[in-house]
Symmetry: C2
Subunit: 191 residues, 2 copies
């Protein structure tokens, strides 16, 4: 019989000494649960009355997904990409410019020390596409307040960022109903 | 340059036809984010005014973790293992008996059709240890209401259960600060 300690133990943090440090966390991989786990942290942290904010790097601004509805009810800010954006150049690719602008918002939030947890949702994509230099992101993360947690989600997390992060998890797809059974994403579960 | 569709698309569900079906979801693997992603679903589903409940298969009843604090504030039931348990036999191993009793609670909840999402947190362990027969669980899941989502978390998900489930994700540890840097689990982030 396998030892049962792992199944039934309380989290490590409950006992013993603890180094307190805000972490840089990455949820990457081709599977489900990257954003969802970030939302779980948001839920937990809110339960502890920590100050949380989420920045989304997706195009669909204003979508009334489950997380947005929940966050609105709880007064948790979720800043969609493009919110409050004013066009200054018609020449630039719209999505790139929106992503860069959103990153400026994140940078400000990270450096202003008004939060305990900041989530940069789907942020790996503008890094992967080369729209925002990874070095600039790491440089900003180096200056983050000591106790602040920053969670970055999305596929294709750049190696340099993984190298820099404290906690990295790959969500790996084992079985996926949408491809295998023709089932589409379900409200509540996935958005 | 990589195609940007994946980065910026809205979830599939927003357009197109959709097979509506409650899913059996498993978050397994040795990495972080299994329970946390289940909490993210709980948060989303709550945002959509869906009826959610979480059953925990961990020993530490009554712990005031972040998720419990948040759920209490929102009126989301999280039923810890051992809650309301009355001892009927002193001979049985306590944890096994608690797990079996908790499974009875889950079964009732699954079959009574009062929920849209039910989370069986760390439920893989009593299955893995052979305390609860996997066949019995699958038999119950076969009878679940058509639109109900059931999310099961924990390491060592049994093969039969993975075979039966609709959506299975492995959370794989890529980098873990607690081992590598001696940092313990952080409140808000992990509990």
């Amino acid at each position: 019989m396998t030892d049962t300690t792992d199944a039934t133990r309380a989290p490590q943090a409950v006992k013993g000494s603890r180094i307190k440090k805000g972490l840089v966390v990455i949820n990457t991989g081709n599977g489900k649960g990257k954003t969802t786990a970030a939302l779980g942290v948001l839920f937990r942290a809110w339960g502890r009355e920590m100050r949380v904010e989420m920045f989304q790097f997706l195009k669909h601004t204003g979508a009334r997904f489950g997380e947005k509805r929940a966050a609105d009810k709880l007064g948790i800010p979720i800043k969609a990409m493009g919110d409050g954006f004013t066009w200054r150049s018609k020449d630039m690719d719209q999505t790139q410019e929106l992503a860069r602008q959103q990153w400026e918002n994140c940078k400000q939030a990270i450096l202003s020390d008004q939060h305990d947890v900041i989530i940069l949702d789907e942020f790996t994509y503008p890094l992967h596409y080369g729209w925002i230099p990874v070095e600039q992101v790491i440089d900003t993360l180096k200056q983050k307040p000591h106790m602040m947690h920053v969670i970055i989600t999305g596929r294709y997390a750049p190696d340099e960022l993984i190298e820099f992060a404290d906690l990295v998890t790959e969500m790996r797809e084992v079985k996926h109903p949408y491809r295998e059974q023709g089932i589409k994403a379900q409200p509540g579960l996935e958005f």
